[in-house]
């Protein structure tokens, strides 16, 4: 498996586009509507937020994906269409407009939204703009679509991988957004994936759920799980491989590539967390189980105090132990060791639950790097897990103190 350039159009037979139609009223330069369309019918699946409050487009998309098939994905930024008047009706109107312009049925369309909660979706500007959006569809359109789903993201997020199944070259590609409100349970993030692999609806769902568990569900920006999170995958089968209909060698190759792609997009999200100046990777080894290791690692990367310490390049490892201690997992603190690492070096600061004397200046140099790793070892078992987060900064407060204006 190799990473290759490209995004949602890397796989055969997918076009995309992204334009400004007016959902974002404050800045007419910013794209706010994206479309991804397959050249032929696709098997399809999606994973949705676990928030009890679910945005209208998720409910409509779930309905449309009941048959395991779809042809296109329509996404607006600037308005979440959550807790909003006429939410489901407007999500459906968006689908109908796209379907009409594409010559498809409304239930061929997956729809998603991201932005402010509680305000009516200006569906009319979507209806008016979708014709132009279809005109702009292109096999080179991934970057336009990736730009159109951004909100407070600073970096456009694309990724693509290539591998072989039964001698056929297969690709998976995707775009994502989600700098803010990201959390382990698929907090607000959107990711739309496409593949030319031939794979059944049942197996596509399994691959998607498994990949989400080890990627998007292992990142956190601020612990808030949004109403709009969604991850979808369209598979058009144009790679010509024998359709994957069960677990086995072919599925494993596909799943491995899916996981790698999703981890790449997830880490890009964490790294581009709102206002973030550091990507924080926390690996816990030696926990009782992988689940325990995940809970411990998530607790560390979600700790506001740890995030603030990393922002200040302060080797305050006590906060790492503290966050593990309130994670809900039982363990012996006296078996825990903590090491900070980055491109600038590696320094152990705590061994067997007790602080080690260490060179504070050196620790600061290590923690000044953008990518910082917190390595935790313990002595409870073989469980191991890595989670990703980012620091909390003045800029985060600024962005979220006045998001709506």
């Amino acid at each position: 498996m190799n990473f290759i350039n490209g995004g949602v159009c890397a796989a055969k037979g997918f076009r995309a586009s992204g334009i400004h139609v007016g959902v974002k009223t404050s800045n007419t330069e910013k794209k706010d509507l994206a479309l991804i369309v397959a050249d032929c019918d696709c098997t399809a699946s999606a994973v949705y937020t676990k928030n009890v409050v679910k945005a209208a487009p998720l409910i409509i998309s779930k309905e449309h994906l009941k048959n395991g098939h779809a042809r296109a994905v329509l996404v607006n930024s600037g308005n979440a269409n959550a807790c909003a008047p006429d939410g489901e009706e407007n999500a459906l109107r968006s689908c109908r407009a796209a379907a009409s312009a594409l010559g498809l049925n409304a239930d061929d369309i997956i729809v998603a939204s991201t932005g402010v909660i509680g305000q009516r979706l200006p569906v009319e500007v979507i209806e008016n703009g979708v014709g132009e959006l279809v005109t702009q569809l292109s096999y080179d359109g991934s970057k336009d679509a990736a730009a159109a789903i951004m909100t407070t993201d600073l970096v456009m997020k694309e990724c693509a991988v290539e591998f072989e199944i039964g001698g056929k070259a297969v690709r998976i590609g995707g775009i994502a957004k989600g700098s803010g409100m990201i959390h382990p349970n698929m907090g607000t993030m959107l990711a739309f994936l496409t593949t030319d692999c031939a794979i059944s609806p049942v197996m596509i769902e399994k691959a998607l759920v498994d990949a989400a568990k080890v990627s998007f569900n292992r990142i956190s920006v601020d612990g808030d799980t949004s109403t709009n999170d969604m991850l979808s995958l369209l598979a058009n089968g144009l790679a010509g491989n024998d359709e994957i209909i069960e677990t086995g060698a072919d599925f494993e190759v596909f799943a491995y590539a899916m996981n790698a792609l999703c981890v790449d997009l997830a880490v890009k999200m964490a790294s581009d967390g709102e206002g973030a100046t550091h990507l924080i990777t926390c690996t816990v080894r030696g926990a009782k189980s992988e689940d325990d290791a995940e809970t411990l690692s998530k607790s560390v990367i979600s700790s506001t105090l740890t995030k603030a310490a990393i922002f200040g390049a302060d080797a305050n490892w006590g906060r790492v132990l503290c966050a593990m201690g309130y994670s809900g997992i039982e363990f012996d603190p006296d078996s825990v060791s903590v090491t900070f690492e980055s491109d600038a070096g590696r320094i152990m600061v705590c061994k067997n639950g007790r602080g080690l004397p260490f060179d504070e200046d050196n620790a600061k140099i290590i923690l000044m790097e953008h990518d910082v790793t917190i390595d935790v070892t313990m002595d409870e078992g073989q469980g191991e897990c890595t989670c990703w987060g980012c620091d909390i900064t003045y800029e985060y407060i600024k962005i979220n103190g006045d998001y709506r204006t």
Copy 2:
């Protein structure tokens, strides 16, 4: 029951003191050692952090309180004595030093620490300073003790109440610290209470646990639960009431006063959260149960995004619904209404799960006040609960980005 002036010396027969001995090395002006001493033996109880990683003084205090009695409380700030070399030995040495200076046994002493994790407690400066600390003991010493337990607190926290039991005037008073790392499960906070009530060890424990549940356990500053949290109560019986040995009318009067005192101290902690510019009160009414209402309310006041919105005086009520939605409680979002309130007015922004049109300028004026209330109503049952938190600010990041220097 009336609130009265005073703190930990408001009840008969308690002296206190607070001085600088050198645990805090960076600022010799700042007091760092506090002592509270009863004139006679007390029944006593304490509540400790639920963090798996427990600081050494908690372990020693628990040991000393096994018999349900104590005479004094010794507290240092500037060093948490958690995950530190020789932790338990140094906590015990602190107790021995205080006991020796007071002519008591080491197990008469409750000991607590707050400050940086992982560094050895400079117990020698405590041993050298405790004699002077005893010399300074005074029936007017509450403020000195309250000052000596502060870390990043800006406001000294004292409270006292007076009431009658069986015709006898009874008082409870206390001091507290805990602007940072406060969380529902008794996150880092210290509170030391004294009363002249005659009450048995069993009933004092019940009163303390019950009061913590509705006060300190219902506040959150940043979701981090510390290794050092502790709440203790000494009762010397000098009020002369018949000893409370069971539930009933007398206990109810005592418990009511305890709850009021603890809520007052807890709200003071939330209001003085690190860097906070707003006290946020969230009341949820109409949940299935009080526990559900508490979980929902805590989720709202703990949401980083809600905290950032209040910092920016932004009526972004969608984040309130969003936080309720990921709290883990099931409910019908279409039954939820949200109102913001302060001394400047009251404005409903969401009714039955949908945004209402509202005057943004007026909402901003309401949210610019220091004390802001988020009133949530739903239609699931009779459960009601109020929790307290604070906003997240630039100053919070600044304080916690470089706490150790």
